[in-house]
């Protein structure tokens, strides 16, 4: 069958099972857009290309499928870079298609030419410039394969205009040449079970790899069978139930006191799908100083990168945990009665000493209170996205995530403006689910234009705005480390968010008193429309506890609210 590049493009997406694409048109992709029109392909028109990349990312994180977006050449392409880098840092499978000037113009500084494969080389898992229409179908196939296989990541495909206009014989691609190495887990289960049987203070430390690898059920079975407490990184929230008695909360800079103490005192750490990021470890040489470390990860390059492992297993989390669980079921593996008793007692003491806490009086709304109420009202049955800053940390601390793929947050890059377009992507993937973006007043304004997208497609995304009138997290650092010199963090001019919502045809609600929090949340969550709930919260509330940058996790006790004031 003779087809144009643009027709092959649509066919190839269909072959991959793509049911929706987020995008924004322009001259270089106008032929493709003509095919969208003719074939009635589902396309969500965003209002800024960064929004398209984040929406594809939110779609991918919530559904586990590859998210797809398309933009024009030059500025359209460069606008996606933050979204691509965000996905890269968190290993999220998206495929970004960019238009490009015709091949004969490449390198001539033509109108709207940008060397986007050059620009994105360091922040994509791989990228392609398609020079011949004959290569198009196979390149698209490879792009999806690379995005989702091994440690996932973003892939960019650059499409010159003339390639999309050229004609060639099309047949669906069945074989690809791409050599993304896959690793067969070489595990001796005894390497893991022996240390567990000997440990007195074991700890499971899980991360985003468990969610990406679809290994949450396996993690639960494993932790419950061996009865070992669990802490998870920001990226791993939801893989293990936040309501389980074994759950310790998130560790790290704004983690729980007891998770950090458990890391600092454990004698065995089973690290699964984590990369030991510096926000989690504190100073690296004092991280888990007493522990034998078992590290399971799909990416060989994470092994021994930041933390030296005593036992390392290169495997996807699911296969590794399945093997371990199987062996637990079939063997007489038991842990001597009472072996962990002292450990559990110690953990209970830490929990009692320093629980996550805040004080809600009857005058000013505390942001933590809003999140707790949100949790109570949703019973955890929602997809939560966050922006970046205090809002993100409070969401991680005070919302209990029981299910994987329900907490979407830019962990690695820390991208303000991520949460709202990501929520749009998640809502497109799950039209009937409650999707909530927990936002700060700074971050929400970074992609506020996507209100139009949400309203146009009837996407009932809820924005819970913790409005403190500050770039709160930066202000907190200025309070703690720069003698309260609030340089450029006090947002003097704010839009009226209620009227802003209304201007877009959405619903705007506002709460200024604690007793209004629950009614406004109820009203907002049960309105089947796009809603902004603007909560005017305590302006100088801080995120605590906190490990000072450059300190050990064990020094966390030094920095709770009381110690500062």
């Amino acid at each position: 069958m003779e087809l144009t590049g643009s027709q092959i493009f649509i066919k190839s997406l269909e072959e991959e099972g793509v049911d929706v694409i987020f995008g924004y048109p322009g001259g270089a992709v106008i032929d493709i857009y003509d095919e969208f029109h003719k074939s009635n392909f589902r396309h969500i028109l965003v209002r800024h290309e960064q929004g398209a990349a984040h929406a594809a990312d939110g779609y991918a994180r919530s559904s586990g499928k590859v998210g797809v977006c398309i933009v024009t050449s030059g500025p359209g392409a460069t606008n996606t870079v933050t979204g691509i880098a965000t996905a890269y840092m968190d290993s999220i499978p998206i495929v970004v298609f960019t238009g490009q000037v015709p091949t004969s113009f490449i390198g001539t500084d033509a109108f709207q030419e940008a060397d986007i494969t050059g620009i994105t080389r360091p922040c994509t898992k791989h990228n392609f410039l398609v020079r011949r229409v004959e290569d198009l179908a196979v390149t698209i196939k490879e792009a999806f394969h690379i995005a989702r296989s091994g440690r996932p990541g973003p892939v960019l495909v650059d499409l010159p205009k003339d390639v999309m206009q050229s004609v060639t014989e099309y047949k669906p691609v069945t074989r690809i040449s791409s050599t993304v190495s896959t690793y067969r887990p070489a595990i001796r289960v005894s390497q893991i079970l022996d240390p567990i049987s000997k440990a007195k203070r074991p700890l499971i430390f899980s991360g985003g790899g468990v969610i990406l690898g679809g290994a949450s059920d396996e993690l639960r079975e494993f932790a419950q069978n061996v009865n070992i407490p669990v802490t998870s990184t920001l990226m791993g929230l939801g893989a293990f139930p936040g309501t389980d008695p074994l759950w310790l909360g998130m560790p790290g800079m704004h983690g729980t006191y007891y998770a950090n103490m458990a890391i600092s005192h454990c004698d065995l750490m089973i690290a699964i799908g984590v990369r030991f990021d510096d926000r989690v470890t504190g100073t690296i040489d004092t991280f888990a100083p007493h522990a034998k470390i078992i590290h399971i990860d799909i990416d060989p390059a994470t092994i021994d990168k930041n933390i030296k492992a005593d036992v390392s297993i290169v495997s996807d989390c699911k296969s590794a945990l399945q093997l371990i669980n199987e062996s637990l079921r079939n063997s007489q593996f038991t842990i001597p009665e009472g072996q962990y008793d002292d450990w559990f007692k110690q953990i209970s003491t830490w929990k009692a000493e320093e629980p996550l806490s805040y004080h809600q009086d009857d005058k000013i709304i505390k942001p933590q209170f809003v999140i707790e109420k949100l949790y109570e009202l949703t019973k955890g049955d929602a997809i939560i996205t966050t922006e970046v800053g205090q809002n993100q940390m409070w969401a991680a601390q005070f919302y209990k995530f029981d299910h994987p793929n329900t907490f979407l947050s830019s962990g690695g890059l820390g991208t303000m403006g991520y949460g709202f377009p990501a929520a749009i992507g998640a809502q497109v993937a799950f039209p009937d689910k409650l999707v909530v973006d927990i936002a700060g007043d700074g971050s929400i304004q970074m992609n506020i234009q996507e209100m139009a997208t949400a309203v146009q497609y009837n996407l009932p995304v809820k924005i819970v705005l913790l409005n403190n009138g500050y770039l709160g997290m930066v202000r907190q650092w200025q309070e703690l480390f720069y003698k309260k010199r609030y340089s450029q963090t006090d947002i003097i001019l704010q839009p009226d968010f209620v009227r802003l919502a209304e201007a877009y045809g959405a619903v705007g609600l506002k709460a200024t008193k604690p007793e209004e929090v629950e009614p406004i949340l109820r009203q907002g969550l049960f309105t089947p429309k796009t809603v902004i709930m603007d909560f005017h919260v305590s302006r100088e509330e801080g995120v605590y506890p906190m490990v000072k940058p450059g300190s050990s996790l064990s020094e966390m006790e030094l920095l709770t609210r009381e110690m500062i004031n």
Binding site: G118, S181, P300, A301, D304, K305
Partner: protein, 160 residues
């Protein structure tokens, strides 16, 4: 940890942007490339890149792992003095005068160099050897008047 020179040999797909992916992967992670050689192999679809970097053992393992992740890299090996033969080449342009010509000829005999071009008042020598041998040759010839040099990076073949 002690730093020393490591030679990394890669088999890569012979495509226009592969070199920049390889050098970008090292540069982006703060590793310096000391020398670099690229050419095709017996299979025209595959190129070999040989690069050297001053590093320690942990870092060079990390470099190898990061390079292995590149889609266009087929195989990476770290070669050391013990397990590989390494060579460099230099072309050296010398001013030739009646006074130094005999000196140059004598030097060539001792230095494993040869004359590859002879003009009226200059000549070009070719020196091939290990890096330290090239250094020795250059140091020896320097007083006789080197006009210009061009050096390749290291190439290396594993002995196994």
């Amino acid at each position: 940890m002690k730093k020393k020179a490591y030679t990394v040999s890669l088999l890569v797909n012979n495509k226009p942007d592969v070199l920049s992916r390889v050098s970008g992967t090292l540069g982006g992670r703060g590793y310096n490339i000391e020398s670099l050689c690229v050419n095709t192999t017996m299979d025209p679809e595959i190129s070999k890149i040989v690069l050297t970097t001053i590093s320690n053992k942990t870092s060079v393992i990390q470099i190898k792992k990061q390079l292995d992740k590149l889609v266009d890299v087929r195989k990476t090996s770290v070669l050391t003095n013990g397990n590989a033969t390494e060579r460099e080449m230099a072309l050296i342009k010398m001013n030739v005068t009646e006074e130094n010509i005999s000196e140059i000829r004598k030097a060539i005999d001792t230095l494993k160099c040869r004359i590859v071009f002879m003009g009226a008042n200059c000549c070009i020598l070719e020196a091939t050897g290990r890096q330290d041998e090239i250094e020795t040759a250059l140091n020896y010839l320097k007083p006789m008047g080197i006009e210009d040099i061009a050096r390749t990076g290291t190439i290396a073949l594993g002995r196994k």
